[in-house]
């Protein structure tokens, strides 16, 4: 009995640990959260309808899953405008340093949690070979920055309401939802590790390079946001799904978009 207990610490094997806390709760919550999002996003990307409301009944309010809206009529119906664009933000999140940690733990169980054993017998290669594509994260970042501009323009459109044959400034719950969404996405994107490297992290001696003070300032500010990268990752993920859901509901007539201003 004693000897068996001693070996337990030395032996590997999935889930083997002497930890007595709820170590499985974190990876389980991550798996449910990420899994739920992927299922919802896939469903909505294939749904291909109820993704916007248009004047004259309302301002132009477009779901972030379908923005920018690219309509190619000759494509088969399941290739929705969302499928044409979602690979870019999807790739950004897939290669994000935070999400990598999250899904390596929750789905690959590599490791499931700290000091908890892994399945034996797999040839672990980390982020070499098959996973070298993770190094392209910075390119997805460049695309994500373009998406931020596009989604900000959507918020502007969501403020332009029809009025007596003309146009007027207005704000509805839908406008606020899109505005909150782009704000959280901006905080997520501006806390990115690759951006932190790009704006100044790659400099060792700030007093030796051109615009060193500026770069140091930028690096410090991105670092501040970066400390909470996980928080921005989850809140922006939730919000982008909620924004799509809200547009779906008002576009299908289930909710009425309440005008505030």
């Amino acid at each position: 009995m004693m000897a068996e207990a001693v070996l337990a610490n030395r032996r590997g094997g999935l889930g083997r640990t002497e930890r007595r806390d709820l170590w499985w709760a974190g990876p389980l919550a991550t798996a449910l959260g990420l899994g739920g999002f992927v299922v919802y996003a896939t469903f909505r990307a294939l749904y291909n309808t109820d993704f916007r409301v248009v004047p004259p009944d309302s301002a132009y309010i477009l779901s972030p899953f379908y923005s920018p809206l690219i309509v190619l009529p000759w494509l088969p119906p399941w290739v929705s405008p969302a499928i044409l664009i979602l690979w870019a933000p999807g790739g950004f999140r897939l290669t994000c340093y935070y999400y990598r940690k999250a899904y390596y733990r929750a789905f690959f169980l590599d490791p499931p949690a700290c000091a908890v054993g892994e399945a034996r017998g797999h040839d672990y290669r980390g982020e070499t070979r098959l996973f070298l594509f993770q190094n392209l994260h910075r390119y997805f970042l460049y695309l994500a920055l373009i998406f931020l501009v596009i989604l900000s323009i959507d918020v502007v459109y969501a403020c332009i309401w029809p009025a007596d044959g003309g146009k007027t400034f207005g704000i509805s719950v839908g406008t606020l939802v899109l505005g909150t969404n782009v704000t959280l996405l901006t905080l997520y994107t501006f806390s990115c590790h690759s951006l932190r490297h790009l704006v100044g992290g790659n400099v060792d001696c700030f007093s030796c390079v051109a615009m060193g003070q500026l770069r140091h300032g930028l690096w410090k500010n991105v670092s501040l946001l970066n400390k909470h990268h996980m928080f921005w990752a989850w809140t922006s993920l939730f919000m982008v799904a909620f924004a799509d859901f809200y547009v779906w509901m008002i576009a299908s007539g289930r909710f009425t978009d309440l005008r505030i201003l």
């Binding site: 004693m2 000897a3 207990a5 001693v6 610490n9 030395r10 590997g12 640990t17 002497e18 930890r19 007595r20 340093y97 990598r100 940690k101 390596y104 733990r105 590599d110 490791p111 700290c114 000091a115 054993g117 892994e118 672990y124 290669r125 980390g126 982020e127 070499t128 996973f131 070298l132 190094n135 392209l136 910075r138 590790h193 690759s194 932190r196 490297h197 992290g201 790659n202 400099v203 060792d204 001696c205 700030f206 007093s207 030796c208 390079v209 140091h216 970066n226 400390k227």
Partner: protein, 251 residues
Amino acid sequence: MAETMTLEIHRGDTAGGELVSYTVPSTPGMVVLDAVHFVQAHHAPDLAVRWNCKAGRCGSCGAEVNGKPRLMCMDRVDKYPAGEPITIRPMKTFPVIKDLVSDVSWNFEVNKKIPAFKPRNDRPPRFSQEEADRVQEFRKCIECFLCQNVCHVLRDHQRKEEFGGPRFFVRVAALEMHPLDDGNRTGLLKQDLGIGFCNITKCCTEVCPESIHITDNAIIPLKERVVDEFYDPIKKLFRILMPQSRPEAGD
């Protein structure tokens, strides 16, 4: 009557071992190392345990308490549920010498692979506190090797040949990001220290008693530097077209 608690301590060596139970009186403010010392003084004078400062400074007393890597001298016993035994084992990733003492000499071999500080000669040796802040975090390391112990690349996958481990990424970061260092260790990171094996799952950060943000501030920035040099296709193209645009080490 003083309250007591039960410790289950690993007793044994490379040939094998077992958990042995000891009863210890608990006193206010007691840490796990105090309890182990009580066992040594009253029950088992031959119990091997490594320690020096009892203040979380020397990094000697790393062990696994209830399955979690910890410094025994900084681990209060009153945070563990009363009435349940506390299990103490040596660090799993390194060969055990005796009882709670493991052989961490592999780490010192890895350390030898890292070229030391190389001062740049092109400017006066002066830099601001702001520039020093970043590397100062890494200088807090007390070489307890708890991060090496918990890292699954070493702990579960035994990649000691190909992988340097988080402690040494911290050391390389301290050198690479130093404003006055002129060395370039990016190739070393990719090859001999195998930074690609790290999948940034952050267990090293979770256990570091010095709260060094190992993954966010050392490993990920170093990974980005490796991408700059080896995996960024546009940077590669630039280097081919304009060989003189290659950044100076230290910039």
